[in-house]
């Protein structure tokens, strides 16, 4: 039986919305948002979309009007009662009331601020200006909208069965990855694939397949909405935007050198246990650890997000040992450019030396490589970053010069202040 009311209701949709919830976002955005809401509530920040894959002409593939409709739809969203209940009532990392009442009250009334969209050649210029803790919440939905509109552009001309076989092939691929990962003893892996996913429904499928296929080895998803709907753990801690903005706000070189530690000092006051995860690479992992205060060595673990992951992990292990810590009690989370082979390789290399986890992103939730002509669904490197704070440009160096961003003179200054020398370039996959 066709439910006529449902059918008629569906007819009334103006668009098929890509982002349907304010918590269809990464968990760490909410943690960071709360931190900023408390510590830097007056900071003005600009976020900007950057397509690092310049060979993908987004403005030719995606209709500007449709993009505006999707972004306008996101601006119409507010936290639903059930979402608010989940954030207030759930345990995160084993802890209740992770989100404070004053933050929740503000979040319940929050709407995303305006966006600025302009076509520039065959790319879009998409920026968000405003209070840091508001504009930062644009990052994930903006990326998800652009990724999915680009997917839709490639899927548009396909037939019904062709589409079904496309997804059949993609499902088979994900399942084969899961089968390969089943062979890894004591695996601990989470989904970090929200931002560059193929689509919401596809991420949701991948997460559920991981859950069925890997059981307890699958530790959860970074996506709050999916974590809520599927009753899974929400996973994530903090990201580069914190040190980038703190650094941009520094008035002189001395403050700049201290900024990355100030971030973690604020974090230290707010969080403990498994939320105390160092992200050391914003201005070079080696220098960051060398100059780190001793209390940071007491933190629970480290996340490796750029450069050669094995080198970075070994650097961290050596650092812990040098600071009198037992590395085997520490957690090392790999989260950059992972796929099955890399996961198995890193696991084999570091099992026993530290507790190993993986945050698996784009090649979990968007591996459609080779499945359509011209590889029109291959993932690409789209980011949305804080580019300025209170009018000053931000800088990111990371452990891979191909991921560096900011004005050239500022990059040079940061390199000097943080003592970053030659870096080995790594291909940015996604």
């Amino acid at each position: 039986m066709v439910d006529i009311a449902t059918r008629v209701y569906n007819h009334k949709w103006k668009i098929d919305p890509i982002v349907r919830s304010l918590i269809d976002t990464d968990f760490y955005k909410l943690l960071m948002c709360q931190s900023v809401f408390r510590n830097k509530p007056d900071t003005q920040v600009t976020f900007s979309l950057i397509n690092r894959s310049t060979h993908i002409p987004l403005a030719n593939l995606i209709d500007e009007g449709e993009l505006r409709e999707q972004l306008d739809h996101i601006r119409s969203l507010s936290l639903s009662r059930g979402e608010s209940t989940w954030l207030r009532g759930n345990t995160f990392y084993g802890k209740r009331q992770m989100f404070r009442p004053d933050f929740m009250e503000w979040f319940e009334g929050m709407r995303l601020p305006p966006y600025h969209l302009e076509r520039k050649g065959d790319q879009f210029e998409l920026t968000f200006e405003g209070k840091w803790h508001e504009v930062m919440l644009w990052e994930i939905p903006a990326l998800a909208v652009l990724m999915e509109l680009r997917s839709r552009a490639a899927l548009g001309p396909m037939g019904k069965f062709e589409l079904q076989v496309l997804y059949a092939r993609a499902m088979t691929r994900v399942w084969e990855k899961i089968e390969a990962l089943r062979e890894v003893d004591n695996l601990s892996i989470a989904d970090f694939g929200t931002r560059r996913r193929h689509s919401y429904l596809w991420q949701d499928w991948c997460v559920q397949a991981m859950h069925e296929g890997l059981g307890n080895a699958f530790t959860g998803t970074s996506n709050c909405r999916i974590a809520m709907m599927r009753e899974l753990e929400a996973i994530g801690t903090n990201a580069h935007e914190l040190p980038m903005v703190y650094a941009a706000l520094a008035d002189d070189d001395e403050e700049l050198a201290r900024a990355p530690y100030d971030v973690l000092s604020d974090w230290h006051d707010e969080h403990d246990g498994n939320l105390r995860i160092i992200l050391p690479d914003t201005y070079g992992t080696k220098g960051f650890l060398d100059h780190a205060p001793d209390w940071l060595a007491g933190w629970t673990g480290i996340r490796i997000d750029s450069g050669d992951p094995a080198t970075a992990a070994q650097t961290a292990i050596d650092w812990w040992r040098a600071r009198g810590e037992d590395p085997t009690t520490k957690r090392v989370i790999f989260s950059d450019g992972l796929d099955v082979e890399k996961i198995k390789e890193l696991h084999a290399q570091f099992a026993g030396k530290a507790k190993i986890s993986f945050g698996w992103g784009t090649l979990l939730t968007n591996d459609f490589r080779g499945l359509v002509p011209n590889d029109a669904l291959a993932p690409f490197s789209l980011v949305c970053k804080a580019v300025s704070a209170n009018g000053r440009p931000t800088v990111k160096l990371s452990d891979n010069p191909n991921k560096a961003m900011g004005p050239a003179d500022e990059i040079a200054r940061y390199k000097r202040v943080f003592g970053v020398g030659e870096q080995a370039a790594q291909k940015v996959i996604v």
Copy 2:
């Protein structure tokens, strides 16, 4: 929105029926049924299920109670008004009113006769006794029920996503076959896979995928229900049961020798054009053609269903030429043990020498080989045959001694009467 009424209605199902329509059967069964209804209305025939794959212990895999429920459900079916309208109003092979009013009137009132089911070791003995034109209609639903219950037994322990990936893999396999067949110029291929399909829904999917993927090269399906629902051509002509029963009814060797031609004489009176397709192998292709009356050489084509297909096709081509016919105007339909490689090979070998068609069966609608542990979904060789007529045993020789059936002394007699010498054994795939 959940449609509550639908949900409640679904709760009321006693079983999930496998066969839901009397025309979920092969088109040629209906053509033959009409022919028998006219020419041999009083013949008493016994059909019997035969599992040629004795290593598959059907009675251990399938619950007898469930099997009875499915068979009982089939006995409750009658022709629906829409199905009757379709049979009466549709064009088949370009012709209207293929089914005569007296036949349709009888068919509209028909219910399938009782079955006899008994467990014998780890196999089932399943037989149908009664008027030929009634019991013959058990063949396809009986096979479909056993095939699908065996599929369900293998699928039962599987998880939700495991199942989805299983079908994803099977879909990908079918689609890759379709992609390979797209490269064959002037292909003409139909679905003949009802009897040993994985399931009804799966056959329906395969047919639709063939339709989308091959366009006009896909000429239709033998399944009447699917042809009706998907607005495709229903395909099929006649089968071995006609000469087998006619032969069993023969009173002496002379009548026996004439029986296969008597069948086609009756057919000749009823049908013309593309329905005049010779099935020559029941008692050996070579002898059948050598002794055939000249009017048979005027028929439209031939169907190759056992033995080495290339040899049989060449035999037919030589025979047409010897009888003064132009083989390039004749149709050769291959329908035995086909898969993509064989189809491409036969097409390459005979294109230009005759009009070539393919009736693709089990390896279209049931190729789950290698997709589950112990290959528990691999197709197997289950048949349901007329084993006696008016108390006399039937015999089939075919061009493959591995497909021969009947009592040994009768097989010897038939071989003598039809002058069948040494035959090359072919592995029976499905």
